[in-house]
Symmetry: C2
Subunit: 185 residues, 2 copies
DNA sequence: CGTTTCTTTCAGAAATTTTTGAAATCGATG
DNA sequence: CATCGATTTCAAAAATTTCTGAAAGAAACG
């Protein structure tokens, strides 16, 4: 029969494994490992923690903790809270995975897709009108422009699709289920 | 009036800018900058190139070129070709942005989501049955399991949704357009 | 075969990213 | 407004990723 201490140890161990595997995903989400781990910690424990608790649990420096927490706040996937009679700031993760996912997608569109789109528009608009060229040069120019246009329309559709998907109305899970059904038709 | 040489220079310049901005997205896609640039080069020029041409154009070493090309082949977004009377291998990018996107999503699910899912299942199944605990310890265990389940169901839905979206039937653009319409209903 | 041409590998170098920790800043409190 | 705890900043260090180039390996040719 398991003693309470054993169970607690097992809980901590399971949490640590969760945190570690979440941390490994960090690269995929374009954030640092520590940032992902801090988020995983707040998510899986489900309770507000202050900087020192996070530092201790993840074995990281104060500076690193501060930076990572700040970044998570910027991404909008954790928020500040306070405890009565305690000067420290506490942080808690969004407990709804779907709204967390939305924040991440929204942020990534803003940081990655939008700048790329802007640059591609610029390139397109700066490119010479091919009317006055003939032969090979003209052919190449036209082919290039075609590919640029294709990429632009791809990115625009993706952006719109993501924004639609990510719009805050309704539960993400419901929407996803609806989508899965509709895709079959 | 523009001379052919000018136009050619402008073409090269526009291509280089495309390559550079594509390269900046590399991090976002979980690949190295060179890998993204090599892909951009093959995509925007639209013609097969051999290793030396890629090396020269991107100013990278032979080793780097070889590795990057190999990785792109592994991802399935470029393919080998050959020229008659030429021993060298030539490489060309998938010219359909949507099918390229599909390959990337498919690969990332395989590399990132699936291993994470496997680990999370493992964690769940290894966690102790909470029946024999009481009070605080039990509460925490249950709360943890709930969050783990939520994350699991989220990942499973995402995986399914992506696979659906990414299935090779029909044009991606059409599908996306259809989706956008249907989402409105 | 032996030679030549092309491709891959991989140990070390270079570049980049992440983390640390101490100092500076902030801000609540008496 | 001086103090003290909490937080942020940032230059330097550490860790990680990427790149190079020379050497080894394959494959095509005569």
């Amino acid at each position: 029969m398991a003693k309470p201490a054993d169970q607690h140890d097992q809980l901590i161990e399971a949490q640590d494994r969760f945190i570690a595997s979440w941390g490994q995903m960090a690269g995929a989400w374009g954030i640092s490992r520590t940032m992902a781990e801090a988020h995983a910690l707040l998510y899986i424990t489900g309770r507000p923690m202050n900087t020192d608790e996070i530092m201790d649990r993840l074995q990281i420096s104060r500076g690193n903790a501060s930076m990572s927490i700040r970044a998570l706040l910027d991404w909008g996937i954790i928020s500040r809270t306070h405890k009565r009679g305690d000067r420290k700031e506490y942080f808690e993760a969004d407990q709804d995975v779907w709204s967390m996912f939305r924040s991440i997608v929204r942020e990534r569109i803003k940081r990655e897709v939008e700048p790329l789109l802007a640059t591609l528009y610029e390139i397109r608009d700066a490119s010479p009108a091919p009317d006055d060229a003939t032969g090979q040069a003209q052919k190449e120019l036209l082919a290039n422009q075609k590919r640029l246009e294709e990429m632009l329309s791809f990115l625009k559709v993706m952006e719109k699709l993501s924004q639609r998907f990510v719009s805050p109305s309704g539960s993400g899970l419901e929407l996803a289920a609806k989508l899965l059904t509709k895709l079959d038709k």
